[in-house]
């Protein structure tokens, strides 16, 4: 039988009581915490031990030795701490002792102080998250993309979840875990993951070529494929002495964008494209002398 177990799970800060209850339950099942973490915890097998766990949040301990000594005096053993200020303690469980023996904060003021420490951090993080949302929304508005919209929604939801969590921890409304808040928290990660996957599979195509005018050969065409529906930008540059028209058409021949009429063209067009093949056609004006050369660069992103 395995003697070690790794658990990958993330508890929001305002569910620290639920985390301690889960650790107590694991201890009763013979799995004792060796290292607690924000995303990853390690347990070892010991069926003879029974512990009760407590989590403390304190990111600015002025005297770490006195801190741990104070806990040790009442039988609390330090297990581990996290980079962001959570400390895991455990105490041997004795059913004869009253439940107060397993509480580390025992008056309203100290509970409020502890909650206030995280609540201040949570409120700051939530406010930063909302500022990031505004920035993302502005970027998504300027250069629309499904990824940008998903990430903006994820930032907005994360900001709201953190601010709601900070409010709950400040009010000590932490005994009843809210499933809706937990779902929203999970949805944030799903949106971020979807955004990243979407960004990865989005088309990025480009072409850089010289096209010499030949009336017998007809217009020159460059094609690109779109696999995911999204907002795309076609960036076109034409460097030629003749007038040219550049047209983007879909597979049904429907025109999606037209640049034209000029020499030394520099233009961008934003389009929402569904999956399919698209053609970028370069058409010289009819009065163009044979042999006129032009350099064309297209980029779809």
């Amino acid at each position: 039988m395995k003697n070690k177990k790794h658990r990958y799970v993330m508890y929001p800060a305002w569910e620290y009581r639920r985390e301690a209850e889960d650790l107590n339950k694991f201890s009763e099942e013979g799995w004792q915490l060796e290292k607690g973490g924000c995303f990853h915890s390690v347990f070892y097998r010991d069926e003879n031990a029974r512990y009760r766990y407590a989590l403390d949040y304190n990111q600015s301990i002025d005297d770490p030795v006195r801190y741990r000594d104070t806990f040790a005096e009442q039988g609390w053993e330090f297990v581990s701490d996290t980079f962001n200020g959570w400390h895991f303690f455990r105490k041997k469980y004795d059913p004869a002792l009253p439940p107060a023996e397993y509480e580390i904060y025992t008056d309203e003021q100290s509970v409020r102080d502890m909650a206030g420490r995280w609540s201040r951090l949570g409120t700051t993080l939530g406010a930063i998250e909302l500022a990031v949302t505004v920035l993302n929304a502005w970027m998504a508005f300027r250069e629309p993309s499904v990824t940008g919209i998903l990430i903006t929604l994820a930032c907005l939801m994360l900001g709201i979840v953190i601010l709601t969590g900070a409010r709950r921890i400040r009010r000590q409304d932490t005994d009843r875990p809210r499933k809706s808040l937990r779902w929203c928290f999970s949805l944030v990660f799903l949106l971020l993951a979807a955004g990243l996957v979407y960004s990865f599979f989005r088309v990025h195509a480009d072409s850089y070529s010289e096209y010499v005018y030949d009336p017998a050969a007809g217009p020159w065409t460059w094609s690109f494929d779109v696999h995911l529906p999204d907002f795309y930008t076609l960036d076109a540059e034409a460097d030629t002495d003749a007038n040219v028209d550049i047209t983007v058409t879909d597979k049904d021949g429907k025109v999606r964008a037209v640049f034209g009429g000029g020499q030394d063209l520099r233009a961008k067009a934003a389009m929402f494209l569904m999956p399919g093949t698209y053609d970028v056609t370069v058409q010289y004006a009819p009065d163009t002398p044979d042999g006129t050369a032009g350099m064309f660069r297209f980029e779809v992103d």
């Binding site: 104070t70 009442q74 303690f89 107060a100 023996e101 100290s110 502890m114």
Partner: protein, 106 residues
């Protein structure tokens, strides 16, 4: 000055007769309050730290055989405790005047 919390009051009270360590204070507070006031470790660390910053208590050297932290009351802490005790006596007297009087009338 604002009223002390029960934990602060009992910590100062437990140190009134001489230095003690966290566990001793916790046990004394439990006994003095007849089992009502239990000062948990997190509360104890925060309260003792805060009172040391305010200069009400201070750490004092413990015997070599004892690793536990010993705390002692300062003159300022003694003043705070006595002032709080006066305030509580005054509250109790006011309550006695009204409620005690009603009991007597009944």
């Amino acid at each position: 000055m604002e009223p002390l919390t029960e934990s602060y009051f009992y910590i100062l009270l437990c140190l009134y007769r001489g230095p003690s360590h966290g566990y001793g204070i916790m046990q004394d507070a439990l006994r003095l309050s007849e089992g009502r006031v239990h000062i948990g470790s997190g509360t104890m660390y925060g309260a003792t730290g805060s009172m040391m910053k305010k200069g009400w208590i201070e750490e004092c050297p413990a015997p070599d055989t004892d690793r536990r932290r010993l705390y002692t009351l300062t003159d300022k802490g003694r003043e705070v405790l006595l002032a709080e005790a006066d305030r509580l006596r005054s509250l109790a007297a006011a309550a006695e005047n009204i409620i005690g009087g009603e009991d007597n009338e009944e």
